[in-house]
Symmetry: C2
Subunit: 137 residues, 2 copies
DNA sequence: GGTATATTTGCAAATGATTCGCAAATTGCC
DNA sequence: GGCAATTTGCGAATCATTTGCAAATATACC
């Protein structure tokens, strides 16, 4: 584990939600180059130390998000108002995937699931846009 | 429904599997411009006549795939050897999504799920690469 | 430790999918 | 048919991501 890779991994581990590559690049400004960040993310995913998924959101377009594999494999909800992620907890797709493998003779090695919509906070605020401004990402 | 939009929609309807924007552009060569194809795909998705998901595959990178909404909402398996899609049939996530909405107070308006791995055909052929050459996408 | 070899990094430029500006063409409506 | 509103084509611009290559660092071996 090189210095750069360790830095990228701790950036992921320090975050409560998945990070886009460009946000990792931002957090590691001055620590390592953006090409190195991208290469490190690929390395970490290959090494099963991180996981990624590609999300489309009308405000951010297509971006790939990365999360440390420290915790159990899980999925996320993306709020299309405040653009934060909500942790949905450990993956509940095991049964469904096993069914599909048996029914169709597939060998499933990876899966991607995410939900999107409006989070509880945003739903609670009539004026969601004002809230969105204050909020993170 | 303009001529260009209709052309894009029938390209999607004529396909047994989701198409990347660039493949739609290819099929409509001479019929309409690529910017028009992209705009039409956005329009169709907005109008709920088509659905899209963004998939990452090491060979094709990140691409957004589109399918007509003619049939019921469904999900796909992507074979990382032959790069074809396998139709997994109607969506089975209704219960899981309803649970999550209740548990976490979310309002889920869209969801993306896809599986990837090795399809039955590719698994059956010891020499998967020869098969992959003959196959589609 | 010291040296040779393999891997990783920084930098700057390239890539590739997607988007945009704007004038011309098409559409929906009276 | 005539007109305002919308859509299209074209080319250039964007943006995330990748790549080539020389310098720096890590690893293997003595
Ligand atoms: Mn977002
Ligand atoms: Mn593929
Ligand atoms: Zn929110
Ligand atoms: Zn296959």
């Amino acid at each position: 584990m090189t210095r750069a890779r360790a830095a990228v991994l701790s950036a992921l581990e320090a975050s409560a939600e998945p990070l886009s590559a460009s946000r990792v690049v931002g957090k590691l400004e001055g620590v390592c180059d953006q090409a190195t960040v991208y290469r490190a993310l690929h390395y970490l995913e290959e090494a099963r130390l991180a996981e990624s998924f590609v999300l489309y959101c009308s405000q951010h377009g297509v971006e790939r998000y990365y999360a440390s594999s420290k915790a159990a494999h899980r999925h996320w909800f993306h709020c299309e108002s405040c653009h934060r992620f909500v942790d949905l907890g450990a993956c509940r797709l095991g049964g469904l995937i096993a069914d599909v493998e048996k029914e169709m003779g597939l060998r499933v090695s990876r899966h991607t699931l995410y939900l999107s919509g409006i989070c509880a906070d945003c739903a609670a605020h009539a004026d969601c846009s004002a809230h969105a401004v204050k909020a993170a990402p």
